[in-house]
């Protein structure tokens, strides 16, 4: 028989639990991650009473958690994206604040520098103006350094931030694995305690704010958490095991940072860093931060390179060529290995190539007498023995190294941090021009010679044909009749000291003659050539300049009649001594071309000393006269000191003359015998021409390959940064809307509505009261039965 009492009791018990559940919901209305719980009530199995089947009340089956997996994972991935955008925006805004600040504007600073140069250009001899220029330049350097320092500290802050977030994830992972082992005690999901499941979901959500993860849920609710997609194979949590996440700086480029799993035991780089603030920060570092720093570095390098190039061709108050005005110090750390020799390495920046910040190694090999510079990440290398260039830097090698000596080169300061003043004394400011031109007062015409400009003369004397041919001091050189090409035997490089050569016919049937020329066609030694022979010998392929013209004046001359008054020895073969002999005590400032003409072959021997070092720039200051012929059709360049004709040529209409790195032209028609002077300058108090050239750099749009001038490039950089920040803001706002919607959906599904719970309270209260009434009624029925006598 259906038991009224137990039915009532079942009702009471059930509604007690229902009320407890409602109470739980109300108490947890503000708990983060809480999913609303609902008691699932089902009817007890009925008992049959004859043909009747009477129910037996109700019982609670389980506490159902209102939860939608799809909604939750949607919210999770939306939030990962939002966190990524938020982190990126936060850092980009910091960058913007630094560079957008009017006080720190680099273009204002650069304009200030050029303005100070203008000030000196008006009164070049004024000590006050010069000193002011140095002060302003110092301020500019500080400005660059200040920005560099702030960017460096943002880089460090973001690195520390990444580390902290990696730690945070590691902690969440640990907590989750502990939770997993708690969940593992129950084999079925339905029987899992709800708050464990809620806590599990909250942990995963917190994790995905930091880094996008994907979750694989087992049948009993235990989760495996993978980094990125499941396919990546890298997991944060697997059952009750968790991994540690850490950071590692990539050795090749100290700014590159990798997220690694298990950093202390067997590090494994994380392959899929997408979503989450960690991804946002890393994207910021590799994107906006790096490109900003690289662009500012390029700006610095170009500024230093261009200003120094101009400054080094000017004359300072000591009458010398200027040195560097700015320099980049400490851009590389040079660490020697355990070296036996005394090799010395100096690193400097190239003016026109961006510094790539490569890690490199340098090794000396005694067998090839060469140094090899190797890029440690790509293993590319270059070799040489005085100067090597790679990745935007120049490595100068001096000293006496031993076989196997090595150095490692690691990038140190970025150019913007390495910028410093190279001039501290105002007298070292190179204000004056190196070359000036004048016209002779005795000229018939009033035409002026105009200096179009000058640049660093090309360094002569890197030709090694003399070394190659006469390596053991003796060689056999075939004399080819003038007419075939490649007659050139070898080149005596400029400023070779005390060169001396002998040549003699190799055998009876040979008849040879050594011929020595300058590149302009002045014959210094040998036999007279016919016009056909001249044309055949003096070709560009043989090393002659295009303006070369045959000149016999200095052939076989010595003493003050010799070319450039060189101390020559010129002996032709005689009956007593069959050798041709040519020698110069000291040297000349030009390359000399040596030929052998005649039939058969010559035996040549030679000896020579070092190549004298001279600042290539001094060639600019060679005093030269430009003398026009008596019919004004052609000109001759005459070295004033030795009265030597160096070169000659003709002016094609409106044409110019180039020599030694300068170029001149004429503002009118020249008349017969007009003479003009090109003079090297010493210090002149009012000479401001080099300053004017520096000023012209301010508006020069070609130095950045047409991108614009200094201001243009800098404002572009700021504009790009602003654009990136704006973009990040827009992305963040858009993503925020998506997250808001996902959050709303989740709230709709799983959050507690107090009104609903209040209604439920009433409902279950009534049901409880009604069930209690059943017990009371059952009691009365029983009393009735008991009362039957």
């Amino acid at each position: 028989m259906a038991d009224l009492l137990s039915t009532g009791i079942s009702g009471v018990r059930t509604y007690q639990r229902a009320l407890a559940t409602v109470g739980n919901n109300i108490a947890n209305v503000d708990t983060e991650g809480y999913s609303r719980q609902r008691l699932e009530i089902t009817g007890n199995a009925s008992t049959s009473d004859g043909s009747l089947s009477i129910g037996n009340g109700a019982r609670a089956v389980r506490v159902q958690r209102s939860y939608d997996n799809f909604v939750v994972s949607n919210l999770r991935s939306a939030q990962a994206q939002l966190s990524k955008h938020e982190s990126a925006l936060e850092y980009v805004t910091q960058l913007e604040n630094i560079l957008g600040d009017k006080q720190l504007s680099l273009s204002t600073s650069l304009n200030g520098f050029f303005a100070a140069v203008q000030e000196v250009s008006i009164t070049p001899s004024s000590v006050a103006a010069r000193q002011n220029l140095l002060n302003v330049a110092e301020a500019t350097v500080s400005q660059f350094g200040s920005i560099g320092m702030q960017l460096e500290s943002i880089e460090e802050d973001s690195y520390v931030d990444l580390g902290a977030k990696a730690n945070e994830i590691t902690q969440y992972a640990q907590q989750l694995s502990t939770l997993n082992s708690a969940l593992n005690r129950t084999p079925s999901l339905a029987k899992q305690p709800n708050e464990l499941l809620d806590r599990r979901d909250l942990l995963i959500q917190d994790m995905s704010k930091l880094l996008r993860v994907s979750v694989v849920e087992a049948a009993n609710g235990v989760v495996d958490v993978h980094i990125g997609d499941v396919a990546s194979g890298q997991y944060l949590v697997r059952g009750n095991e968790s991994s540690t996440l850490g950071l590692q700086r990539s050795t090749n480029n100290s700014d590159e940072v990798n997220l690694v799993l298990d950093p202390y035991m067997s590090p494994q780089t994380v392959t899929q860093v997408v979503g989450g603030s960690i991804a946002g920060i890393m994207e910021f570092r590799e994107g906006a931060l790096t490109s900003l720093r690289d662009e500012l570095d390029t700006l610095t390098q170009v500024f230093v390179g261009e200003v120094n190039d101009v400054h080094s061709l000017g004359i300072n108050a000591h009458g010398e060529f200027g040195g560097e005005l700015f320099s980049l110090g400490n851009i590389y750390n040079v660490n020697p290995g355990l070296n036996q020799g005394t090799g010395f390495v100096k690193v400097s920046a190239l003016a026109d190539e961006s510094i790539e910040r490569l890690s490199m190694s340098l090794t000396y090999s005694a067998s090839s007498k060469e140094w090899t510079l190797t890029n440690l990440s790509t293993q590319e290398s270059v070799s040489g023995n005085t100067e090597l260039t790679m990745g935007g830097i120049k490595v100068a090698l001096t000293g006496v190294p031993e076989d196997g000596d090595t150095f490692t080169l690691e990038p140190n300061k970025r150019p913007i941090d390495a910028l410093q003043m190279a001039v501290t004394d105002h007298s070292n400011i190179a204000a004056g021009g190196a070359v000036s031109v004048a016209r002779s007062s005795t000229n018939t015409s009033a035409t002026n010679m105009v200096l179009n400009g000058y640049s660093k003369p090309t360094a002569p004397g890197s030709d090694t044909s003399m070394d190659d041919l006469l390596r053991n001091n003796i060689a056999t050189v075939a004399a080819t009749s003038v007419g075939t090409s490649n007659n050139l035997a070898f080149v005596i490089p400029a400023r070779t000291q005390d060169a001396t050569f002998y040549s003699v016919a190799e055998n009876e049937s040979s008849s040879v003659q050594m011929q020595v020329f300058t590149r302009e066609g002045k014959q210094v030694y040998g036999s007279a050539l016919s016009t056909t022979e001249q044309a055949q010998l003096m070709t560009a392929a043989n090393g002659f300049n295009t303006t070369a013209a045959y000149d016999d004046t200095y052939r076989n001359q010595t003493g003050s009649n010799a070319y450039m008054d060189a101390n020559t020895t010129v002996t032709n073969s005689t009956a007593g001594d069959l050798r041709d002999h040519f020698a110069i005590a000291g040297g000349v400032n030009e390359d000399l071309l040596v030929f052998v003409t005649g039939t058969g072959s010559a035996q040549m021997s030679g000896q020579w000393g070092e190549v004298a070092q001279q600042d290539t720039r001094e060639q600019l200051r060679q005093n030269i006269n430009v003398v026009f012929s008596s019919d004004a059709s052609s000109y001759t360049l005459v070295d004033v000191a030795t009265e030597t004709n160096i070169a000659s040529g003709t002016l094609s209409g409106g044409g110019s003359i180039q020599h030694n790195g300068w170029e001149v032209s004429f503002d009118g028609v020249v008349q017969a015998n007009d003479t003009y002077a090109v003079r090297g300058n010493q210090y002149l108090a009012g000479d401001n021409r080099n300053l004017l050239q520096i000023i012209e750099l301010q508006a020069d749009k070609t130095i950045f390959d047409g991108r614009g001038d200094f201001t243009g490039v800098y404002t572009d950089i700021i504009g790009e940064l602003g654009g990136a920040a704006m973009q990040a803001g827009v992305s963040r706002d858009a993503q925020q809307i998506i997250v808001d919607q996902a959050q709303q959906k989740r709230d709709e599904t799983s959050a507690v509505s107090l009104d609903e719970e209040a209604a439920n309270l009433l409902r279950f209260q009534q049901a409880y009261q009604a069930s209690a009434q059943i017990i009371s009624t059952a009691n009365k029925l029983f009393d009735t039965i008991l009362g039957i006598r």
């Binding site: 209305v29 503000d30 805004t93 913007e96 604040n97 957008g100 504007s105 273009s107 204002t108 304009n111 050029f114 303005a115 203008q118 250009s121 008006i122 009164t123 070049p124 001899s125 004024s126 000036s436 004048a438 007062s441 002149l684 108090a685 009012g686 000479d687 401001n688 004017l692 000023i695 012209e696 301010q698 508006a699 201001t711 243009g712 800098y714 404002t715 572009d716 700021i718 504009g719 790009e720 940064l721 602003g722 654009g723 990136a724 920040a725 704006m726 803001g729 925020q736 808001d740 959050q743 709303q744 709230d747 709709e748 959050a751 507690v752 509505s753 107090l754 009104d755 209040a758 209604a759």
Partner: protein, 308 residues
């Protein structure tokens, strides 16, 4: 749609937060008077503004250069106009001396005066500017260009260069005047033969002095022509300076005009439209207030109030 407590609060706080951010941004604009506060507000405008500001700075520098030039030109003008007076006097004396009514003694006293005048001309050539640099010595501004020997022979030791100064982008102007041109070579056209030649000023004046001392009438008459050329040369130099000053004045006006244009452009681009911004501020504040009030009202609604 099921409205839950947390859903309601989340949404309300988000909306109010967004509205508040907008209000604060407008307030920032109003208090700074600028349309854009940071580059990300309008990157293209920010770039254009930065370029413009740089142009304004550069322009200012040229104005300052031109002012200095004006000062220097004034000093040059003073010296040259005094020189004209000096040579006028020499010319006057020469014309008098050419007259045969003067005897050796008269000419001797004239010679003494001429010698003095030549000296003062050399002194004028050695004028220094305010910073101590010599005005007429080309580039060797730290050395006096005109050396007078004990015999009264004046030689020029400066250079023949014209110092230049930048007056506009890519444009320079000559600020200096080398003594070799001002007080140096003079173009002379022989009245009778028509031949042109080049004279040296101080040599010519020196010859006149010698002629007076030697009481050589022929020489005096010969040189008269040349003295006229010298005088003319100096007046031409004076007007050269005058026209240069005019050019400086014109350039100054041009650059000042340009400065004004740039600054108005900058103001247009950068300044806030207060009317629009104030209206916007009113609207946004209104929306924020509405949001706050409705939130207050809604959050007070709860079924629990009615269940005792």
């Amino acid at each position: 749609m099921r409205v839950t407590q947390s859903g309601f609060y989340n949404q309300a706080t988000q909306q109010m937060g967004k509205q508040q951010a907008k209000v604060f941004e407008t307030q920032e604009q109003l208090s700074s008077g600028k349309k854009i506060l940071r580059p990300s507000d309008d990157p293209a405008l920010a770039t254009a503004l930065n370029n413009l500001k740089s142009q304004i700075d550069v322009n200012q520098r040229y104005l300052s250069n031109l002012n200095r030039m004006e000062d220097t030109l004034k000093m040059q003008e003073t010296s040259v106009s005094s020189s004209v007076d000096v040579v006028s006097r020499i010319k006057e004396l020469s014309i008098q001396a050419a007259n045969d009514t003067y005897n050796a003694a008269d000419r001797k006293s004239m010679a003494i005066e001429v010698k003095e005048l030549i000296s003062s001309l050399a002194d004028l050539g050695n004028t220094r500017g305010t910073d101590g640099a010599y005005l007429f010595s080309g580039y060797s501004q730290d050395q006096a260009p005109f050396l007078e020997s004990s015999l009264g022979v004046v030689t020029y030791t400066g250079t023949t260069d014209y110092q230049k100064v930048m007056v506009d982008e890519g444009r320079s102007m000559k600020i200096g005047m080398p003594g070799s041109d001002v007080f140096g070579s003079v173009q002379h056209r022989n009245a009778s033969t028509g031949a042109t030649s080049s004279l040296d000023m101080f040599t010519t004046l020196g010859s006149m002095y010698q002629a007076l001392v030697a009481n050589d009438s022929d020489a005096i008459r010969d040189n008269l022509d040349k003295i006229s050329s010298v005088h003319e040369h100096l007046t031409v130099q004076q007007s050269n300076i005058g026209s240069r000053m005019k050019r400086v004045e014109t350039l100054t006006h041009t650059i000042e005009d340009r400065d004004y244009t740039y600054k108005s452009l900058q103001s247009n681009m950068e300044d806030l439209d207060y009317v629009e911004a104030a209206t916007r501020f009113k609207n946004q504040t209104l929306a924020l207030q509405a949001g706050q009030q409705t939130f207050a009202q809604l959050s007070g609604l709860s079924l629990f109030k009615y269940i005792s």
